[in-house]
Amino acid sequence: MTALINEQGLRHDGRRIEDLRPIKIEVGILKNANGSAYIEFGKNKIIAAVYGPKEVHPKHMALPDRAVLRCRYHMSPFSTDTRKNPAPSRREIEISKVVREALEPAIMINDYPRTAIDVFLEVLQSDGGSRCAGINAASVALADAGINMRDLVSACAAGKVGGQVVLDLDDTEDKEGQADVPVAIMPNFDQVTLFQLDGILTQEEFKKAFGFALGGCRKLYQLQKEALMKKYFGHGEPIVEENE
């Protein structure tokens, strides 16, 4: 086993403490969905798709004053090191819930009473940080579907690895590290929409990790905007930020 952080302060994959893994976002990659996005985030490969606003079945599940937001986070059986059973695990059910709750604050659900908005995340290949990667893609897919939003939702994790606070843990760091803190924010409102924490951090480390994560989220926000810009205005065009 190599050290998770070497004497030069570099991580096992060569990154520095506050570096993100390589990230690629593509918008509008599925034909049938109303909105979609594909994200590569390190080795994560995730598709997000949005269907809706649409009729709710069964009808009594509809809400008179707002849309029902539904979310499914799912891993393809081949996405993990050992084959994953295709039935949803307890972990997937919990992540589906927190992802939904991370996205909902940014969506103007009162604009769509009596409808449903479905967000599907399919993890084709998983690495550390798949829920954050998924949220970034889902948020862009919602925008691609033309759903009214207050802001994008941008997500990134920080954590503690080899005794140091670092940004954006990959699979190895997640498993062998000391803590993982996934965070999602609405960047233009300075509001946290997702927060989880696993592992042990002192109060000081917690503050540092939280700050790192916010910084990561802001970088993701730029990448999300660029991806949308690229689809809707071609390369290099200035983006009009209507929702801010």
Binding site: P64, D65, L69, R90, R91, I93, E94, S96, K97, V98, R100, E101, E104, P105, A179, V181, M186, F189, D190, Q191, V192, T193, L194, F195, Q196, L197, D198, G199, I200, L201, T202, Q203, F206, K207, F210, L214
Partner: protein, 274 residues
């Protein structure tokens, strides 16, 4: 469990009444924002369990039972015992709970409590090995929620922790290739008391230990668990609302302070010193 369903108008009225009160630092039941309801803990309530505890916070009531059994370790952790935490909100606990497999709320509840135990390294799982790679102890903690009146996270968490702190299990040995149960019992190898503190944001105010009524109108929920050293070992934001960056920072402070207070209650009941 299904969410509490109320008419939109009633919900809005209730919420505005609450936020007005909270603006003055008061709550419907007279508590201040950072006050817990009385916490009652009773251990050893289920003699058939290796350990058990009934915890009552306000009108919320849960029972946790620990069973220590033997099992096969996971292939990637052959030198560690197993921990399984499960929760059911019994249908008798609330007019909105329903029979059936755990829904997403019960799954989240069990997983957040599980992570508090697991990540704090409360249990030294390396000591729960009978034969490396073959036989280990499996610690099952099951929670039955008996009455719902808000703050299931802390009530469940304290019940699980108290049940573990007072559990005794029978040792096993492998003799001639066969598993044999010994007569003597001993306590689980425990190191710290993870203590969760759950906060609700209602309007601009953050309160601890929300009641069912408060949860029905809250924007967002935040649970932060600290260990006996005051380190943070688990966190979970819930609900379709947000916390500001500042609220997150102060929540960390609140969780340490209130966590230490409640940890004292647990220490008193269980006699655990760490």
């Amino acid at each position: 469990m299904a969410a509490v369903k109320k008419s939109l108008v009633v919900e809005a009225l209730r919420r505005s009444q609450m936020t007005e009160l909270l603006a003055k630092g008061k709550r419907l039941d007279g508590r201040g924002p950072l006050d817990y309801r009385p916490i009652r803990i009773e251990t050893g309530v289920i003699s058939k369990a290796s350990g058990s505890a009934r915890v009552i916070i306000g009108n919320t009531e849960v029972i946790a039972g620990v069973k220590v059994e033997t099992g096969t370790p996971f292939p990637d952790t052959p030198d560690q015992g197993l921990l399984v935490v499960n929760a059911e909100v019994l249908p008798l606990a609330s007019p909105y709970a329903e029979p059936g497999p755990p829904d997403e709320d019960a799954i989240e509840l069990a997983r957040v409590v599980d992570r508090g135990i697991r990540e704090s390294q409360m249990i030294d799982v390396s000591k729960l090995v009978i034969k490396e790679g073959e036989k280990v102890y499996a610690v099952f903690v099951d929670v039955s929620v008996l009455n719902v009146d808000g703050n299931l996270f802390d009530t469940t968490s304290y019940a699980v922790v108290s049940a573990l702190l007072t559990a005794k299990y029978k040792r096993h040995e492998i003799v001639d290739g066969k598993l044999k149960q010994l007569e003597d019992t001993e306590p689980l190898p425990l190191k710290t008391i993870p203590t969760s503190v759950t906060m609700a944001k209602i309007g601009d105010t953050v309160v601890v230990d929300p009641t069912d009524e408060e949860e029905a109108v809250m924007d967002a929920r935040l649970t932060i668990t600290t260990d006996s050293n005051g380190n943070i070992c688990a966190g979970q934001k819930g609900n379709a609302g947000t916390f500001s960056f500042e609220q997150m920072q102060s929540a960390a402070d609140i969780s340490r302070m209130k966590g230490e207070e409640n940890r004292k209650v647990i220490r008193e009941v269980t006699g655990f010193a760490n």
